[in-house]
């Protein structure tokens, strides 16, 4: 087996690369966690906004339907024998 001295450039380079990779991994994990937190808020907002907008439209639908039901009742009333 070939013996390598501690100051061997190959070892130093490998350790440097490992350190850099670890650092990038730490950053990636941190960024991922931040993204998850951020998404939690954003997705909640998308859900809420969708719900709010849908509710507004539903409210309008109810109004149209009620008006038309009233028209129907009045029509039936006006065409009584």
């Amino acid at each position: 087996m070939k013996n390598i001295t501690p100051n061997n450039t190959t070892v130093q380079d490998a350790l440097s690369r490992a350190t850099a990779t670890i650092k990038r991994s730490e950053e990636a994990v941190e960024k991922s966690n931040q993204l998850l937190v951020q998404l939690k808020t954003e997705l909640k907002k998308i859900d809420e906004d969708n719900q709010r907008a849908q509710d507004a439209v539903d409210k309008d639908i109810v109004r149209i339907v009620q008006d038309m039901d009233e028209e129907t009742a009045n029509f039936v009333l006006a065409t009584e024998e």
Partner: protein
């Protein structure tokens, strides 16, 4: 989005017919209180009929409710009922007319009898007694009165028939308009979902990027691990560097594990987003199917009354509108939707896009209209075989036509002009000049309205008719038109001319005009028991009405 709206409730289970006191009640759960009150005034037979109409409405789902109600409004029995009422009134009118004719004949017979009596008596050298004259005169007066009475009654029934026709037409039109509006709301719901899908898609893309980046990082860690392990194998077992490399290997493994852990969370999040998108897409598919039920796509496309000149989709100026991407059917300005758009800093959201699609079309139509040569008018067809109700057509000597219609697909009131190359040019009512409309003045505004051309066109025509001697500025039709024009469709503040109201009717003064507009707004905007109460209107709206009237 929850499928259930608190306002639309499922109807109560049908009561058995054997319980007349319950079976006569209208289906309370299926209609709101105001409708229920109106239904309360019905005769028992009508109540049963009304109940049977609404019996099918049992779903608590807003969208399902729409299609259920569509079935109610388009129910053939309603049309038959309207026609039945007209037929009955026609029968009564005919009966009255026959009675009037019979009274006239009786009167004539009395006169003829008197004349014959005079002749006989004359031959005998005698005269008819005063008593007989008085008797015949009394009979004649009596028959005359009877005749007048029946004629008056026939006249009265004639008015009732006209009213019934208007009621029937108005109901059909309102049902169509309601369907159009509901279709627009369903489209708005789809657009809201599409917007959310888009938003989710953006988040999914961010996740994809992060997941891909992490995956690359994980592979890098694996490479480093192999690299360090290989290095370790080559080192002297007693070498001082070994513990350092081992620590490095452990750290690389730990980081890889952390990356894998967070990667799982990211993938889970991405899956949940995909599930949300899938759910919304399914909702949209369902909405699309419902829209198809209440307003089929083919009906959303423009249809010309002249079969020889059907407009093909390619001929229409804005294909996006034909495809239903930008249809705008009286879509009110939902605050929530605007907030929703504003919250994304996107002022060109689904609703504004729809409006702009129509505006764009209108603008393009107007531009093309400007190039059209004004033809000489050959004849005006009031209700020609090629025209549907709500249309008036002018045909020129060279066979080209100009059609004024209260509704052209989703566009509303507009004029459609045929060009020599067989294409059509459409111009919206608010883009039409008085010069464009004047040729249609062969028909009075009142008549136009009766023909189903709608309040807006009638009001414009009334304004043109009265433009020369227009001292009174408070014509009800003009006020309605100008107010609606000022506030715009999206404001939700547009008002409707009350049914059977002559648009040329003039209001006394500004106060009456204000009261008219406020009442119309209160009827539209104030909910519940206070409906129609102008004191409940928002002060800002009242101030807006004041400003409008000042500008008149």
């Amino acid at each position: 989005m929850t499928p259930t709206s608190p306002e639309i409730k499922p109807s109560q289970p049908s009561a058995p017919e054997s319980q007349p006191s319950i079976s006569e009640r209208p289906p309370k759960g299926a209609v709101d209180e105001t409708t229920f009150e109106a239904a309360g005034q019905m005769k028992p037979e009508s109540k049963k009929f009304f109940r049977s109409l609404f019996d099918r409405i049992k779903s608590s789902d807003v969208v399902q409710n729409i299609t259920d109600r569509y079935q109610v409004w388009r129910n053939e029995r309603l049309a038959q009922r309207g026609q039945g009422a007209i037929d009955r009134a026609n029968g009564q009118q005919q009966c009255e007319q026959e009675r009037a004719a019979a009274a006239q004949k009786a009167s004539e017979r009395s006169q003829a009898d008197l004349k014959r009596l005079e002749e006989i008596m004359s031959k005998m050298g005698k005269k008819v007694s005063e008593e007989d004259y008085v008797k015949v005169a009394a009979e004649t007066i009596k028959h005359g009165e009877t005749q007048l009475g029946h004629q008056a009654r026939a006249q009265q029934i004639s008015g009732q028939i006209e009213d019934l026709r208007l009621i029937q037409t108005s109901f059909t039109e309102q049902a169509e308009q309601a369907n159009g509006r509901l279709d627009g709301r369903l489209e708005a719901k789809m657009n809201i979902n599409n917007k959310s899908i888009e938003e989710y898609g953006q988040r999914e893309a961010r996740l994809d990027l992060q997941i891909a980046s992490n995956e690359a990082g994980r592979e890098k860690n694996a490479q480093r691990e192999i690299e360090l392990e290989s290095l370790l194998e080559t080192l002297d077992r007693s070498g001082a560097i070994r513990p350092g490399i081992k620590r490095a290997i452990q750290e690389v493994r730990r980081e890889r594990a952390r990356l894998e852990e967070v990667q799982d969370l990211l993938v889970q999040k991405r899956d949940s987003i995909k599930a949300k998108m899938f759910k919304l897409e399914n909702k949209n598919n369902n909405l699309s199917a419902k829209r198809e039920q209440i307003l089929p796509t083919k009906q959303r496309r423009p249809v010309m009354s002249n079969p020889a000149k059907q407009v093909s989709p390619e001929e229409v100026v804005n294909p996006a509108w034909v495809a239903g991407e930008g249809a705008s059917r009286d879509q009110t300005d939902y605050e929530a939707i605007l907030d929703y758009e504003a919250s994304r800093g996107n002022t060109e959201g689904s609703e504004p896009e729809q409006a702009s699609a129509t505006d764009r079309q209108s603008s393009e139509l107007s531009e093309s209209k400007a190039e059209t040569i004004r033809p000489e008018i050959d004849r005006v067809e009031l209700m020609p075989s090629t025209a549907r109700r709500g249309e008036i057509i002018i045909t020129t000597a060279d066979g080209r036509t100009r059609k004024l219609t209260h509704k052209y697909s989703d566009l509303g009131p507009c004029m459609i002009e045929s060009n020599l190359d067989g294409s059509f040019t459409v111009k919206l009512l608010d883009k039409l000049t008085d010069e464009d409309l004047k040729p249609f003045g062969a028909v009075s505004s009142k008549r136009l309205k009766l023909m189903g051309l709608g309040v807006e066109i009638a009001a414009r025509m009334a304004a043109i008719e009265g433009a020369d001697d227009q001292d009174n500025k408070f014509l009800i039709g003009n006020l309605t038109f100008d107010w609606n024009k000022m506030v715009g469709k999206k404001s939700g503040l547009q008002i409707e001319l009350p049914r059977r109201t002559d648009p040329t009717m003039s209001l006394e003064n500004g106060s009456s005009a204000k009261e008219y507009i406020l009442k119309a707004l209160a009827k539209k905007l104030v909910p519940g028991a206070d409906k129609g109460n102008i004191t409940k209107l928002n002060k800002k709206i009242v101030a807006m009405v004041d400003r409008f009237l000042k500008s008149q």
